[in-house]
Each structure stands twice: as C-alpha cells, then as structure tokens.
C-alpha cells in the first residue's frame, strides 16, 4: 500500500483513505481514526459491524474461520486466533484451548474440575472448559504473574 504524507503549515488537517476492499488493515486504520483502537470489525448476517473488544465474550476458531461471540451476536472475524492475540491482547484475553480465546473480564464464575481443568462460565451463561494444558497459565494470569 502506498502512503502519501504531507506536512502542512496552514489549512485543515485531514486524512483520505483510498481502498479497493475493506481489508483488516484498513479496518484497523479506520478503528484508530475513529479513536477506538479497542474496536474490532467483523461480519454478521446484517453486514459489517464494528464492536468494542470489551463486548466480546470469547472467540472460537472453526475450520480455519474465526468467530467472535458477544452476548447476542456472532461475528466472523478476519485472521486467526494467533493474529488476534498479537494485535489485540491487552491482558484480558486468554487462550484457553487450541481453538478458543476467552475474555477474562467477562467471565462470571470459575469452577475447578477434575484433572486440573477449569470450567469458566461466561456472562452469557456459556460454559467454556480451560484445558489442563492451559489451566496453570490461567491461574498465573489471575494472580498477575504471567509474563
């Protein structure tokens, strides 16, 4: 993508974006311009929508497609769980299994299960199992000593 940056001494500051397709990078730029870096774009049946990361309950990867769940809607997001964690993780998102990421800020309750697994009840009432492999890291995250 070409960029054209021009310093001006007078007149109104403005940014013009020319795009052919609303790619994730363009959406991210739009998010920053919207003064909302904590927003994410996704597709629903109704079209493309932008929601706050705080509204997300969890993300799930199904057949290489990434879906974000809020209390009342499901959005298809571009990218993978890894790219999401790299771009947006502010410490409240946690990879709880190979195919899921939860928003710890929206966890309602936790229940310790056998074999060192943890059952996380989300605000929407969904139960998400944090597998044995990720449970000890999750405990460290809650205690605030995850690097």
């Amino acid at each position: 993508m070409k960029t054209d940056i021009l310093k001006i001494n007078e007149g109104e500051e403005y940014i013009k974006i020319r795009y052919k397709e609303l790619t994730p990078s363009i959406k991210r730029i739009l998010g920053i311009l919207d003064d909302a870096p904590d927003k994410i774009w996704g597709r629903t049946d109704a079209g493309t929508v932008c929601i706050s990361l705080r509204d997300l309950l969890y993300l799930e990867s199904v057949d290489d497609k990434l879906f974000a769940y809020t209390g009342d809607s499901v959005l298809k997001i571009d990218g993978s769980l890894n790219s999401f964690m790299t771009a947006f993780d502010d410490g409240t998102f946690f990879r709880c299994s190979k195919s899921m990421v939860i928003n710890v800020g929206r966890v309602q309750a936790l229940k310790s299960l056998s074999s060192n697994r943890i059952d996380a009840t989300m605000e929407g009432g969904e139960h998400i199992i944090i597998s044995r492999r990720y449970a000890s890291e999750f405990r460290r995250l809650l205690k605030g000593d995850r690097s």
Partner: protein, 155 residues
C-alpha cells in the same frame, strides 16, 4: 512467547506419573492399616515383607489402570455409574490378589470386609478430592474478582 509457560508433553506425563505414585502410596498405607489390624486381631505382631511388597506393586499397577483405563474415577467430578463400576473392578482385583497372595489367610469374612473397606477408602478419597476442588473454586473466583477489578481500574 506465552507458550514458554505452557507445560510440555513431558511435564504433563510427569504430572500424571507423580499422581499415580501418590495414589499408590495413599492406597498402600490405607490397605496396610487394614492388613496390620487383621494381623493384630489374629495375635500376629509382625507384617510380612513379601505381603507388603505385593501390596505396593498391586497398588501401583491398579493406579495405572485407574488413571489410563478407568477414567481416574476417584478424582472424578461426579460419582456416576461409570465411576462405581471402576471402583468395583479395582476392589475385585484387590480382593482376588489378597486371596491368591494369602494376605488374610484365605479368610472369607476378612476378605469380604476388605472389599467393603476398599470401597469406603475410594469413597473417602473421592470426597477429599471433591472438597479440595470446592476450596479451589473459592480461591479461583477470588483471584478472578481481583483480576477483573484491577483491569477495570487500569482502563
């Protein structure tokens, strides 16, 4: 970057192995107590090293069976039919071993009582793990609330 803290397959295997060792010791001491009581009641004030060796080896072997084949029933979340079935199978193996290894001098009432004792021990261990998880629940939820509060403050 975050995967550094994720346990490796080796660490996970080791955790399971330590769990089996722990189980073997736990059940060995519980059954040794019964064995010693049987000996004392019968006026014998020493324990056979051979019997103890057989007991620990069987406890160890059954520990593997419990963990890998019988759904680790004593640590399960609920005591359902599957778990009871596991308990009965293991009890039957212990009783058969006790009979052929002559731990209780082929005494039928002592063997039947041993079976009841094993089931009681399994039930107690199930309760211990259950209450351990209940305490862990409280700790986890406290940590969760603290985590959420600290993240709300920093927003």
């Amino acid at each position: 970057m975050k995967d550094r803290k994720k346990p490796t397959l080796w660490e996970m295997y080791l955790t399971k192995e330590i769990g089996i060792e722990f189980k073997a010791c736990l059940y060995f001491f519980a059954f040794l107590f019964y064995y010693c009581m049987f000996r004392i009641i019968n006026g014998i004030y020493d324990a056979s090293i051979l019997h103890m060796a057989e007991l620990i080896l069987i406890c160890y072997a059954i520990g593997y069976v419990q963990v890998y084949l019988l759904w680790n029933f004593d640590e399960s979340d609920k005591l359902g039919g599957r778990e009871v079935f596991g308990m009965i199978i293991c009890t039957a193996v212990y009783c058969t071993a006790s009979w052929f290894c002559d731990w209780f001098s082929k005494n039928i009432p002592a063997t039947v009582l041993f079976a009841a004792y094993i089931l009681l021990v399994y039930f107690c261990v199930y309760l211990i793990y259950k209450y351990k998880r209940i305490i862990d629940d409280k700790k986890l939820n406290e940590d969760l609330k603290l985590f959420q509060a600290s993240h709300k403050k920093s927003e």
